[in-house]
């Protein structure tokens, strides 16, 4: 395992990460990688939450940036892109925050701990065919497709929304370029996410690459969440 000491004075901004426990061996679950701040690498640690056991919420909000489902998912509450969201339940009296809503924009650990959003990450992971047969890097025929999208926090209802973009290639997600939803008085983008479905045995690094980091700093301008065979990794921002 690589860890802690880094010789590079990279300007990339990332330092911490989180690992979830989907499809892991005990050894993988025990894996600990700690990349220092500024290295462009991330720390990975044991599971903080169980994606596989996360219940799928029937009120899942998933769709394109225009507010429409991208995959024909009928569970997605269709709405105009700029429209106020449909609230799952009225806020209780007395100022209490209902489950799944956040008074302030949630950070990445909070997003990862949200069972609805965790289920959506798991869904993206599954949709990327991570366990399709190995195909060496550079060879045709892989059935894997990166998936990804955005997490938005609604300023009015304080709910989190998950927006998916179209599938990418086995090792890239160009479909997310140019799709960042605008921040406005009704919504704020709080994170972007994507999958890394390829394995080390196929000749792929699991963590974020220069493309992920550069694009995040140039366009996404929010933290990134990556689902990988080695766990869930985050790219902090700024």
């Amino acid at each position: 395992m690589f860890a802690t000491r880094v010789a590079d004075s990279s300007k990339k901004k990332m330092s911490a990460a989180h690992t979830a426990g989907q499809n892991r061996t005990p050894a993988q679950l025990a894996m600990r990688r700690t990349w220092p701040a500024g290295s462009g690498h991330v720390a990975m640690r044991g599971p903080r939450w169980g994606l596989r056991s996360a219940p799928v919420h029937h009120g899942v909000r998933q769709g394109n940036v225009d507010g429409h489902a991208q995959d024909g998912d009928d569970s997605y509450p269709r709405q105009a892109g700029g429209a106020a969201p449909q609230q799952d339940a009225p806020a209780p009296a007395g100022g209490a925050t209902p489950a799944g809503t956040y008074a302030t924009p949630p950070d990445v650990p909070t997003i990862l701990a949200d069972t609805v959003m965790a289920a959506q990450l798991q869904r993206a992971w599954t949709d990327s065919n991570p366990n399709a047969p190995d195909v060496p890097s550079g060879s045709p025929g892989s059935l894997k497709r990166e998936q990804g999208g955005w997490f938005l926090w609604r300023r009015d209802s304080h709910i989190l929304q998950n927006i998916r973009v179209g599938p990418g290639s086995r090792d890239g997600l160009p479909t997310i370029v140019g799709t960042r939803p605008p921040d406005s008085d009704i919504q704020q983008v709080v994170a972007w996410f994507h999958t890394h479905p390829n394995k080390d045995s196929e000749g792929y690094a699991s963590g974020p690459g220069a493309g992920d980091i550069n694009w995040q700093n140039a366009e996404a301008k929010v933290p990134g969440i990556i689902m990988t065979h080695a766990g869930t990794v985050t790219i902090p921002f700024p």
Binding site: A3, T4, A7, D8, R170, L173, V177, G203, G211
Partner: protein
């Protein structure tokens, strides 16, 4: 230098080895890429380097592009593994 545990001489040797590898195995020209040292293994035996194909930075997008991750033996500076980004 960010990491005092890798000397300037080691750093230069590792980067030179990576540049040579990328020229030979990827047919990259010197003006098409740069090499960054990214991390040192816990044991201190292996070094991770990134070969950044500069065109990837001109058109950033999530994904691998042509850039690669290289693993090198610290003692010999030999490149032992090449991994694609995704």
């Amino acid at each position: 230098m960010a990491d005092a545990s890798i000397t300037d001489a080691e750093r230069a040797r590792l980067i030179d080895s990576a540049r040579r590898y990328l020229r030979q195995h990827k047919a990259w020209r010197d003006d098409e890429f740069r090499v960054d040292i990214r991390a040192l293994s816990d044991e201190g035996n292996d070094v991770v380097l990134w070969g950044i194909f500069l065109d990837d930075e001109r058109h950033p997008a999530p994904g691998g592009g042509r850039s690669v991750e290289l693993h090198a033996d610290r003692s010999t500076a030999e490149i032992t593994r090449e991994l694609a980004f995704q």
